[in-house]
């Protein structure tokens, strides 16, 4: 890409082409389905908690590149982390995607996930990036189903793009 600020950077395209932790999990202690009825994206996240640690995690589904790359990077990031660390990342990712924290000035644990920060300038794509994280949150709370459109969404909050 000519424009380095573009959302479609090589790392995102790479995760879209070769998603990490893609597929089903033989035995999952927690799982959830997420869908975005506006664009038809849907994915499932399954994980195994051993004590407080996420010992294994996988996702699968059908979605745009932003959603798939976000899910791929998410699973790579939270694997081995504690439930609490994962929840912190979920919150920070959501704040980054909705422009509520300035990742250059405020402290965070997002690391390479900041490559997805560009969605904050594309209101219609924010939900694509956040969907995997909503679904992970739902899985950790063993909520069976989640949606970026639902009032019952455990992460529901105005995203400024309705």
């Amino acid at each position: 890409m000519a424009d380095p600020k573009s959302l479609y950077q090589e790392v995102i395209l790479d995760h879209n082409r070769k998603p990490r932790n893609y597929g089903a999990l033989a035995q999952a202690s927690h799982k959830a389905e997420g869908h975005n009825p506006l664009c038809g994206d849907h994915l499932s996240v399954a994980l195994n908690l051993e004590g407080e640690h996420i010992a294994a995690i996988a996702f699968q589904g059908e979605s745009c590149a932003i959603c798939k790359a976000s899910a791929s990077m998410m699973t790579a990031n939270v694997k081995g982390k504690t439930r609490q660390d994962a929840e912190t990342l979920i919150q920070e990712f959501r704040d980054m995607a909705t422009g509520q924290i300035d990742i250059d000035k405020q402290a965070h644990h997002l690391g390479r996930l900041t490559v997805l920060a560009g969605v904050r300038d594309l209101p219609t794509r924010v939900k694509c990036a956040i969907l995997p994280w909503h679904t992970l949150h739902a899985a950790l709370h063993s909520v069976a189903d989640t949606s970026t459109e639902s009032e019952n969404d455990p992460m529901h909050a105005p995203l400024g793009d309705a």
Partner: protein, 419 residues
């Protein structure tokens, strides 16, 4: 602009002076995404020429008051302008009488009006409503609501792989319980132009009235409601270079008179006591409350503008654009055109192998190209063609062949990014 005349469909060469037309549309000179705007989302909403913008300003600056109410001069002027807009629309669609033209907030409200006014009065338990796979949600959901309330049944006309209605199947759906047909004139998702005149004749031979959703047809082809002989015809102002918030339900006077009001309030009554209210005559019976006066007058101005350009010239130029774009997209490996009907309006839906439409839309936007991506409020069409969504380029008379070239270059760039 006549570079790609189709050999199959002879028609006069497009005679539009597109450069001059484009100068009328201030928004076409902007760079909303940082690049010159290439607006190919006209099926969602069209842009407004300066002439219509000026008319809105003139109304609001010098003519505004409430209508049909006061004896003061300003109110008389506003009323006259509002009714003049109704006259223009009557002529534009060749309705018999002005009272057959009802102002609504748009196509959706027009169809809901027909559902409440006609459907709730004349359709009952066990009755059947025939719709088609190509309908926009706005011509599905109101009838589902009615069917649920009344215990009526929805029957659906299937389509072939090109996105054309199967007319044999349509005819087989009729029986003694068939009470209404709802059909879109032009599919918003695929561009298919449906043989509505033929379908109406078949329905009428069985005593069944037909509602035509004309939201995508009126901007692109000459519509004559008397020639079609449709019972209802619904369309929107904002797809017609007019303002949002205004639309039309045309209905045959005899039907409108038998219908019950949709909304209650001022202007739709002759007299009100707490014991009894007498409803006004049509069209006022269906225009409760203060209508969007400015928007109605703006729609009248938009129709003046389109009539001056000429609907035949508009249709010819748009078909040139469609033929050229179709031809160009067919040359790109990995592009699948969805909707290949023989008779199409200027809508080009497509899928790119291995790339989600939302990624296509975001990347095209970086090149300034505005297309719609998603299910286009026509999820049954998406299910029929087994895609979650498509990318859709839809053309207007102010688009150019160079803009089609930019779309094609943009698609090739998307493929390069995802290769």
């Amino acid at each position: 602009m006549s570079a790609s005349q189709s050999a199959l469909k002879p028609r006069p060469a497009s005679a539009l002076d597109v450069a001059r037309i484009r100068a009328d549309f201030p928004i076409l000179g902007l760079k909303p995404s940082g690049k010159p705007l290439i607006y190919l989302d006209n099926a969602a909403s069209s842009q407004m020429p300066q002439q219509v913008i000026d008319r809105l300003v003139r109304y609001q600056t010098t003519q505004h008051a409430n209508i049909h109410r006061a004896v003061h001069t300003l109110s008389e002027i506003a009323t006259a302008e509002y009714e003049e807009a109704r006259r223009k629309i009557t002529r534009f669609i060749n309705a018999r009488e002005e009272r057959e033209v009802i102002f609504t907030s748009g196509t959706t409200e027009a169809i809901n009006l027909a559902m409440h006014g006609y459907g709730r009065r004349f359709i009952g338990a066990g009755d059947e409503i025939v719709l088609t796979t190509l309908e926009h949600h706005s011509n599905i959901v109101p009838w589902q609501m009615l069917a649920e309330e009344k215990g009526a049944k929805i029957r659906v006309v299937p389509v072939n792989d090109a996105g054309e209605l199967l007319i044999d199947e349509y005819e087989k759906l009729f029986n003694a319980r068939t009470k209404l047909v709802g059909v879109t004139h032009v599919s918003n998702a695929l561009g298919t132009v449906n043989p509505v005149k033929q379908m109406i004749a078949f329905a009428h031979a069985r005593g069944v009235p037909v509602l035509v959703d004309g939201a995508q047809a009126v901007p692109h082809l000459k519509v004559d409601v008397q020639d079609l002989d449709c019972d209802f015809y619904a369309f929107s102002g904002h797809k017609l270079c007019g303002p949002t918030g205004i639309g039309i339900l045309y209905g045959k006077a005899a039907l409108l008179e038998r219908m019950q009001p949709f909304k209650g309030g001022g202007d739709m009554i002759l007299s009100v006591t707490f014991e009894k209210t007498t409803y006004n005559v049509i069209p006022q019976k269906f225009e409760a409350g203060t209508p969007p006066i400015a928007a109605a007058i703006g729609l009248g101005a938009a129709i003046d503008y389109l009539s001056a350009v000429g609907m035949d010239a508009i249709a010819a130029h748009e078909l040139d654009l469609l033929d050229y774009a179709t031809d160009q997209l067919k040359r790109i490996p990995g592009v699948r055109i969805i909707g290949t009907a023989r008779d199409k309006a200027a809508v080009l839906s497509f899928a790119l192998d291995g790339v989600h439409p939302h990624d296509v839309g975001t990347l095209l936007n970086q090149d300034g190209v505005a297309v719609r991506t998603g299910h286009h409020c026509a999820q049954p069409v998406m299910q029929r063609f087994k895609v979650p969504a498509t990318s859709r380029a839809s053309f207007a008379f102010y688009n150019t062949m160079a803009e089609v070239d930019a779309l094609v270059a943009g698609i090739r760039n998307v493929q390069k990014v995802f290769s």
